[in-house]
Symmetry: C2
Subunit: 479 residues, 2 copies
């Protein structure tokens, strides 16, 4: 028989519902409440603990998600313990940071988006990924065919990755990016996200400030927040980040920026702004992390050089990736920075996963060295440009009385801002019911309740037209 | 002109040399000591700070490794600052754990081993990796040829990895391991090391105890120590871990074990011991992490079933990998456990690197599904058996008066224990001078100053003979 002779401490900093989760998990762990036994009713618990019933519901949902208890036939709840689920109910530091971060309110939307992105049947008009239609099958076949003679072994690689890839990237960066570095300045990561993760672990302290553009792609990730850093959004104008707003910028902080075809606004930082940002950061000793995921995807004219190309003092760490131009599944990104930095990141990478897939690295090497990559990217630019023009035309037709948007000169994104604040959660749900998956603006900046990120890279032109028409009909009634 | 009006606080918990590192880094960061200026002599600093000269040397070595200062021609030291190196001089929590962990004394040896493993010219008789000579070129060529028709896209994958690989592994585990699980119980990781990393981050708290066999492969890794856990070695006998020595085993701790062809001792846990360990752990609610990296590499007879095969209550998380049987460069491992656990690990993996290489996963799928993997492994067993026999014969000829060792029934390792304690650091260095890279026993258990891990998987039989003869001549004089 389960008795309830305990009350949560309402003065405690730990939320009451988590105290209840812990109390119940502890009772089960200590064998007081045995497997299969039925918990008291929610009403009885609410009374005994002196809390609202909704608090009990929240606690029960968490315990169910851990697999510690389960709903039974009669609408009650039973104990269904096992060792691992109990372990998980005691969140480590890492998890606490996620739960208590400023980011928490966005989590449910992001979780829904992440889950539905792997379910068929939705038109995804915000997905930051190339459409499977754009998969270069012929090129990939050619690469696989060449692999047997290229790959001498499939053994472990060193901390910086495949040396052949380092050399290929060094040459490619010089030609295409005016970045003049040696292979020893380049570390291959399992995608840019891992590079961010390694940087957060190696280079930053808990409580450090990470400046980003507002809105920022970084807000949709948990990497810096989960490592205990504070994200601080800095507004943008047409020329890029308004860097002069980084009031307390110092060596203890970091600027993360996407200067070219920014995610999610599509803005390209002007050349003069690039020079100003660099000089500001150098004078403040503020390290810069430049994410150049979209730099090759320009349409009409080549964007200004990357910040790294202007960087004479080693103040900038540069991130490149193949994920946005061709194949996220390869999980290949590259970090360019001072030798000591990339060596350190590489050492920690070795302690984390012993390096990126060598098959992926051999494919990437061959892709660059053969020149096939550049030819492929040129074709991709034309494809994306057509898709952009289609999306802009559909927007013009349906949204001009309700919203404003940028005309992107490259990359994937249109930042659609409605003339007034909208109940975006409702619109998200309604669109979902009609088979359209949206990326609401508050995923990128929690104050953005009147914006959406549109990506013309994923949905086909006809899907885009269909989905935007559906969206217009949902939103129209608020105008 | 650099002045020294400061003294370290000797009562402080931070080591004095680190206080000096921080003091100097701070002076440089704040612009007090400008780039290019020469530091006072080591003697002057030792006097001014009131410390031994060796403390100054240690502090300078650390500052040099960060790239903050550099030696100059005259034997002095100059300031050579940049932003990133200053950032790195302020180690985050993570790094502090490595530096202060019990593991620290072993680091230099491991660092040397890790570095030299990527340099040609050494005979490596301890390397836990298959020889490049054993690289199955024909098989890999066949796999690459089949890839174009198998791979439908190279997009992002979901949290558990490629669904086709999950299904293939589920079938394979049933047939070969008597492990009966659904694909939803399996998560693909970028190698077992990443699986360990994810488990340490998701499931354990700082200060938790991780029990391991003593000696243990885990001691040579930094994964659990760097996450703030305490490794606790439990001695072994011929039947495996003496589990009854885990006195305080409880839900807050974890047992990490390699029951089959243990690394580094080669011991196979007996069937009865397996049942006892499981029942002990279940009664204590002690979660078990079973690493089965070598399970397929048996020579004379198939080993007992894995712990996971006996596990009826979900107490065991099982780790498998292709790294020891064929291709570490693929970076593919698999975690088998309760659904809630693998789901959680998968979610965190997505936040870390968005999953393992999909090319690697497609190759792995085809390898298993075609049946080629099993045929390949059978041949590999014969190869390794011959190499084992050669190594044992050479040992018999040269070491029988000085040492004892096991006759491994599978896997890679012979645990060579000398009859007396030896100055292993000296022997390591001497062997290195003669072109032989050793894996000393204290890498696996810091009390083991009279042991070596021998691996017959890497060096060729003739290299093994040569290297062991060199080793015998070095060690002989101590007997």
């Amino acid at each position: 028989m389960i008795t309830l002779n305990w009350k949560p401490d309402k003065q405690n900093k730990t939320p009451v519902y988590r105290q209840i989760v812990k109390y119940i998990a502890d009772r089960i762990a200590e064998g007081d409440w045995v497997i299969g036994s039925r918990l008291p009713s929610q009403r009885a618990m609410a009374e005994a603990f002196g809390v609202n019933r909704s608090t009990i519901v929240t606690a029960m949902e968490e315990l169910i998600s851990y697999g510690i208890v389960e709903s039974d036939f009669g609408g009650g709840t039973r104990v269904k313990s096992n060792t691992w689920s109990l372990l998980m109910s005691q969140p480590p530091d890492w998890n606490k940071y996620i739960q208590s971060g400023p980011f928490r309110s966005n989590l449910p939307t992001i979780q829904t988006i992440n889950r539905l992105e792997f379910e068929p049947g939705y038109i995804r008009i915000g997905t930051g990924e190339l459409s499977p239609e754009l998969y270069p099958r012929t090129l990939v076949t050619k690469l696989f065919r060449r692999m047997p003679e290229k790959v001498p072994h499939l053994g472990y690689l060193g901390p910086l990755g495949l040396p052949e890839l380092g050399c290929a990237l060094s040459r490619w960066l010089k030609i295409h990016k005016d970045i003049d570095v040696r292979p020893s300045n380049i570390m291959v990561a399992s995608g840019s996200l891992q590079a961010l993760q390694l940087i957060s672990v190696c280079m930053l302290r808990r409580g450090s400030t990470v400046y980003t553009e507002a809105p920022s792609y970084l807000k949709s990730l948990q990497v810096f927040q989960s490592a205990g850093m504070n994200l601080h959004g800095i507004p943008m104008d047409d020329e890029g980040i308004k860097y002069w707003n980084m009031k307390n910028a110092s060596i203890d902080s970091l600027l993360y920026t996407i200067p070219t075809h920014h995610n999610p606004t599509g803005i390209v930082m002007s050349e003069s702004r690039r020079r100003e940002v660099l000089s500001f950061c150098q004078s403040r000793r503020l390290p810069v992390l430049e994410d150049d995921a979209y730099g090759q995807l320009w349409f009409e004219e080549k964007p200004p050089k990357s910040l790294k190309a202007y960087d004479a003092t080693g103040n900038v760490i540069y991130l490149g990736t193949i994920s946005k131009t061709m194949a996220p599944g390869l999980r290949i990104g590259w970090v360019v920075g001072p030798e000591a930095v990339v060596q350190r990141l590489g050492d920690v990478k070795m302690q984390t996963d012993y390096g990126a897939s060598s098959v992926s690295q051999w494919i990437m090497t061959e892709l660059i060295e053969s020149g096939d990559y550049d030819i492929y990217v040129e074709n991709l630019r034309n494809e994306l440009k057509e898709r952009r023009d289609n999306a802009l035309a559909v927007l013009e037709k349906n949204f001009s009385h309700m919203a404003v948007w940028n005309k992107p000169s490259g990359g994937f994104y249109i930042w659609l801002r409605f003339h007034k604040k909208l109940p975006m959660d409702k619109i998200f749900t309604k669109a979902l019911e009609k088979g359209v998956l949206l990326n609401p603006g508050n995923v990128y900046d929690y104050t953005e309740n009147n914006a959406l990120r549109i990506s013309y890279a994923y949905a086909s032109p006809s899907e885009m037209e269909k989905a935007l028409t559906v969206l217009a009909s949902i939103v129209d009634k608020y105008f």
